[in-house]
């Protein structure tokens, strides 16, 4: 409840909260610029070997060069598309499987050990096999991305589904609800917060899958830039690839939290 007549004390309190928030932001930006500055200076005075460590100015120059030569947008587009496709398919498939497991306790028990093993297995180990099986093009990379992200989606969402409040299910049963109604009216909506935190994890894992796939086989993509740079021993290229990757994946994460804030008004 907001009150129009704010007292002086309250105003001071709000001011101090705002000041603190601003101060945190300034220090965050400060650390970034200080780091970049130190890196640049160290490279300039040859405290570190700029050939191996690169430097912000070299990365920037290279970035502009790649941008004007026109190949960079293509590389970024390829990787982003692969990630979004892999992430979407992985999420939808993962959700369907976890709904299936929730639906049948029997089959959930049957598959339990397999899911546990799949979860503990580093999925990147499967990438070479997947690429041989489904082909060395975009599909191989997308399937790799799916395989890395889907298990977490299944495990998290299944756990979220079965932790639905038993009394709430009982309540719907007293209304005579069918199992499908329980799923649609209660289990799915109550799992939305968990779905969003799972999306935040699986978008990152999809990137792991895509980059791994691109390391192994690709003609384009950010992973391709990185592996190419390291093979020709141009660390500027590698560093640029990593920085671009960091920026894009942060943007995607931010996008999901924006959606979260927009759609979930019912959490205090």
């Amino acid at each position: 409840m907001s009150n129009k007549n704010i007292s002086k004390n309250h105003e001071e309190f709000l001011q101090s909260v705002k000041r603190r928030k601003r101060s945190i932001f300034i220090v965050q930006i400060g650390i970034l610029f200080f780091g970049l500055f130190l890196w640049e200076v160290a490279a300039y005075f040859k405290w570190i070997d700029p050939f191996i460590m690169s430097s912000p100015s070299r990365i920037w120059k290279l970035f502009l060069e790649y941008l004007t030569r026109g190949r960079l947008p293509h590389h970024v587009l390829v990787s982003v598309t692969e990630t979004i496709v892999g992430f979407s398919i992985g999420t939808i498939l993962g959700l369907l499987i976890s709904i299936g497991l929730w639906w049948s306790n029997y089959w959930a028990k049957v598959f339990d050990p397999y899911i546990v093993i799949l979860n503990s297995l580093p999925k990147t180990a499967l990438a070479p096999i997947i690429i041989i099986w489904v082909g060395a093009g975009y599909t191989g990379i997308i399937v790799t991305a799916i395989s890395v992200s889907i298990v977490v989606t299944i495990m998290n969402m299944y756990r979220s589904f079965i932790s639905t409040d038993g009394d709430k299910i009982k309540l719907l049963n007293t209304f005579g609800a069918t199992k499908f109604q329980v799923l649609r009216k209660l289990v799915l909506p109550s799992s939305i917060p968990n779905l969003i935190s799972t999306l935040k994890i699986s978008i990152g894992l999809s990137w792991v899958g895509v980059i791994t796939g691109e390391f192994l086989v690709s003609k384009a993509g950010i992973g391709y830039i990185i592996i190419y740079g390291s093979q020709v021993f141009k660390l500027d290229i590698v560093m640029m690839g990593v920085v671009i990757l960091a920026v894009i994946s942060a943007l995607m994460y931010k996008l999901i939290s924006t959606i979260e804030k927009k759609f979930i008004k019912w959490i205090e």
Partner: protein, 259 residues
């Protein structure tokens, strides 16, 4: 109260099975409940009070015997039986209006007319300003009132209340039980209320059933006749001179020893 039987319980019993043991929770329950009657059920903890409600509602199936509501044997949850739980169980992602109509939605009965009725009920129970609010914005007492409206909208012939006030603080609890007791009487509902609060049972009920320790059986039934001052309301009935007498009698029947 009239002589139409709403609930008939015949020789009811239930046994639970777990890997370790077999537990008889209830046995030999025989009881009839008449129209417009409020029944309070008290008993030591673990005696099967809530199980009895689950059996009457059709959420559980009895091992032996049967329950009839309006003459029909209960074998699944019935549309004309409303259930109120200890917690309000409002759905956090639905606003208050959407919360009260969930039962109608499930039963496929939602129409403009009963949405209007839902709004009117919310208004008349002091929740008019909160129709578009989310549950977290309401106090415990208001939430429980929303839960009652959700139940009443289905126009149940029989209400089952499973310790409906025990999650509330004491003051709210007194106020809400008074309010809900009056609503039940006004709307001429038949209700069965499980509680561990003896005073609550006496003040709200027409009859109080005392269950024994497990396996739960009916130990004694008290006909509550209070000379309440003024208009009937659970809170005022606590001032009736007979109140203490019933309290002591029920307390003795419960036979609770702290070990």
């Amino acid at each position: 109260m009239d002589s139409t039987k709403v609930v008939e319980i015949n020789n009811l019993g239930i046994t639970y099975h777990t890997l370790e043991e077999e537990t008889t929770a209830l046995k030999n329950i025989n009881f009839d409940i008449f129209h417009n009657e409020i029944i309070g059920i008290v008993g030591p903890s673990g005696c099967g009070k809530s199980t009895l409600l689950s059996l009457i509602s059709g959420l559980l199936k009895p091992t032996i015997g049967q329950v009839k509501v309006n003459g029909n044997i209960v074998d699944k949850p019935l549309e004309n039986v409303g259930y109120m739980f200890q917690k309000d169980h409002l759905f956090e992602w639905r606003n208050i209006l959407d919360n009260v109509i969930i039962g109608l939605e499930i039963q496929g009965k939602l129409n403009d007319e009963n949405i209007k009725q839902a709004k009117e009920l919310l208004h008349s129970y002091g929740l008019g300003d909160f129709i578009n609010s989310y549950p977290y914005q309401l106090s415990g007492g208001m939430r429980q009132r929303v839960a009652l409206i959700r139940t009443l909208l289905l126009e149940p012939d029989l209400l089952l209340l499973d310790e409906p006030f025990s999650a509330l603080d004491y003051q709210t609890r007194l106020a809400i039980s008074d309010e809900i007791g009056s609503i039940l009487k006004k709307e001429k509902k038949t209700a069965i209320m499980v509680t561990h609060d003896i005073s609550e049972a006496i003040s709200m009920s027409d009859r109080v059933v005392v269950l024994s320790n497990r396996p739960g059986t009916i130990k004694r039934v008290f006909d509550i006749e209070l000379t309440c001052p003024g208009e009937w309301s659970p809170l005022k009935c606590r001032e009736a001179p007979e109140f203490r007498h019933y309290f002591n009698e029920i307390w003795k029947e419960l036979d609770i020893h702290v070990e």
